[in-house]
């Protein structure tokens, strides 16, 4: 057996992921969506081993133009699913780099996502994979895939509002 040892990404990449997470925890959702490339994809599969989001349902499978509408709705004053708002913490660990070139970096991490709202606190755990592009504006997310370990919970999920 050969153990697959991956690299730790550069500090710049690591700090980018932390900054992205911080935008979500600070409810800077509009700015968060802008981190995606024009056709950038945010995908939360509905099953652990799901092959694609086109011919199978997902929890979320949206490109930037739709994502922009998602986050505008999220901060809209009429969104009762956020009365009161959720408080979240994204905990990123096990960050490792799978591949990199001059214009693209593939990186993954383990995510613990904690959310508190009204009287309930809940935890999600996920394997998160990013394709990051180096652009003139800096690093951008071409693809973010969030594989929740409980994606296909038998009795479903209570509403999911805040991006993972």
């Amino acid at each position: 057996m050969s153990l697959k040892i991956e690299r730790r990404p550069s500090e710049e990449i690591e700090q980018f992921l932390f900054a992205e997470a911080r935008l979500l925890d600070e409810r800077q959702f509009i700015e968060w969506a802008e981190l995606f490339t024009d056709d950038g994809l945010y995908w939360v599969p509905a099953t652990w081993d799901q092959a694609n989001g086109e011919s199978h349902v997902s929890l979320i499978h949206e490109r930037k133009p739709v994502l922009r509408i998602r986050v505008k709705r999220l901060i809209h004053e009429g969104t009762v699913a956020q009365w009161p708002v959720s408080r979240t913490q994204h905990h990123l660990t096990n960050i490792s780099e799978q591949a990199s070139s001059s214009d693209e970096v593939k990186v993954s991490c383990s995510l613990l996502f904690t959310e508190f709202r009204r009287s309930d606190q809940r935890i999600f755990s996920a394997d998160v994979r990013y394709n990051l592009w180096r652009t003139a504006e800096g690093l951008r997310i071409a693809r973010k895939e969030v594989r929740l370990i409980n994606a296909e919970a038998e009795s479903g999920h209570l509403r999911l509002s805040i991006p993972f």
Partner: protein, 442 residues
């Protein structure tokens, strides 16, 4: 308390209902027995079990069931539990088997439920001569309409077709008619949304046409008028669909509602183009690549007149009481699984219409994601409201729930009753059926 038939009758008046129909745990247990177990409940579609040995698991409220095709081609529906100690015999949601074997003491069963093997059978006192009694227990009734499989846990008063009725069955017909090959299949997994409130809120909400313009105004404003374009150059279909919430109150009111016998109901479409006379495109506001070819393939199958009728079928939701939603244009079926007086799951499925462009299936997937994923851009708000109503009604802050909107403007028709879109006639119709079923003593 134990509810008598007369007490149940006092819970529902023409214009309002007692809060306890949503909150009382004993009434909920009665509902399971009298509404859910004595009605025809949708179990799945024959495309989920095509070949001998193909099975899928499903639920009627809390009961876990297996639906399986036996070697003789016949479908069976069993409780998913071993006759020995009650352990689940099938842990997979779907697949193909020759037999079901209990993991605990290895009792095994054929796909017709017959006992195949009981290790150490002689050691069980007097079991061998009675082994046939230990087959997997079948549910009381199983029938299907054009591939849509229904079952009931107890004997029902009416057969499947009679219970659902012709005005409602047309929604299934329309699904099949929309497939250029005349065949449909469930594909692409399922969405499951959970909320912490009573199941009835969802069957009421899905035909409440006053709330979208109000509660879902947030998504309409977030869209801001312009539907964004996908990488393939087409309008984003999920957003195009959701923007439909923004039609005017008058437009919502212009949609016709139908209330049918048995508590069933339906509503007209809100996705129609402005000019409904526009030949084949009457109900095709949602665009996809290959749409022209799809339309001409339907004309080739049905002829022009029938194809116009099929695509112009003016229905959005058809709701089969107590828990099934059918939407042929969105290629969608959803059903409710109530698990407690204040716990409900909504399961959503997409059908592939065979012979239609794959892009049309992809559009249906996106619309189910947007509307019925747990991260939906609309139903997360509906379900938040349901949970809040549940809390208020449970603690008794509001003794009566009002259902009087349009009480005096609904009109009788030969098949049932009709009303304008914002009328609460369908909910009153649901409660009439609720009282009828709940008063039928065990």
């Amino acid at each position: 308390m134990t509810w008598t038939s007369d007490q149940i009758a006092t819970l529902v008046t023409p214009g309002r209902v007692d809060r306890r129909v949503y909150t009382d745990p004993e009434l909920f247990e009665l509902e399971l027995e009298r509404v859910y177990y004595r009605s025809w409940i949708f179990l799945g579609h024959e495309s989920q079990a095509k070949k001998p040995g193909d099975f899928f698991t499903t639920r009627i409220a809390r009961h876990r069931l297996i639906v399986v095709r036996h070697t003789d081609g016949k479908l069976y529906a069993f409780y998913n539990r071993c006759s020995h100690r009650g352990a689940e015999v099938c842990a997979e949601p779907a697949g193909n088997v020759r037999k079901f074997t209990c993991p605990y003491h290895a009792w095994s069963y054929g796909t017709d439920g017959r006992v195949i093997g009981i290790p150490l059978i002689e050691a069980y006192e007097g079991l061998r001569p009675r082994r046939e009694d230990f087959r997997l227990e079948q549910i009381q009734q199983l029938d299907s309409y054009r591939g849509f499989i229904f079952g009931s846990l107890r004997p029902t008063a009416l057969g499947l077709r009679e219970s659902i009725g012709d005005s409602t069955l047309v929604a299934f017909d329309n699904m099949i008619d929309r497939a250029p090959d005349g065949e449909i299949e469930i594909a692409g997994g399922r969405t499951i949304q959970r909320y912490q409130a009573n199941w009835k809120f969802q069957i009421e909400n899905s035909i409440d046409l006053l709330h979208p313009r109000i509660l879902h105004n947030n998504v309409v404003e977030a869209i801001g008028g312009d539907v964004p374009t996908d990488p393939d150059g087409m309008p984003a279909p999920d957003i195009d669909f959701l923007s439909g919430n923004g039609i005017s109150f008058k437009a919502w009111n212009d949609i016709q509602l139908e209330a049918l016998p048995g508590g069933h109901c339906s509503m007209g479409s809100f996705l129609r183009k402005k000019d409904p006379t526009e030949s084949l495109a009457a109900d095709d506001r949602l665009a996809f690549i290959g749409q022209d070819r799809y339309r001409s393939d339907l004309v080739a199958r049905h002829g022009l007149e029938k194809a116009k009728e099929v695509l112009g079928f003016n229905r959005h939701n058809t709701i089969i009481y107590p828990n099934l939603f059918i939407n042929p244009r969105l290629q969608q079926i959803r059903y409710l699984v109530p698990t407690a007086v204040d716990r409900t799951e909504q399961h959503g499925f997409v059908f592939r219409y065979k012979g239609a462009p794959e892009e049309m299936f992809h559009v249906a997937i996106r619309i189910l994601n947007a509307a019925n994923s747990p991260a939906s851009l609309v139903t997360t708000d509906d379900h938040e409201v349901f949970d809040r109503m549940q809390e208020t009604l449970t603690n008794g802050d509001l003794p009566w729930v009002d259902w009087s909107r349009g009480l005096h403007t609904e009109r009788a028709k030969e098949f049932g009753r009709i009303a304008e879109g914002t009328n609460e006639m369908p909910m009153r119709n649901q409660f009439r059926e609720w009282v009828r079923l709940m008063r039928a003593d065990a």
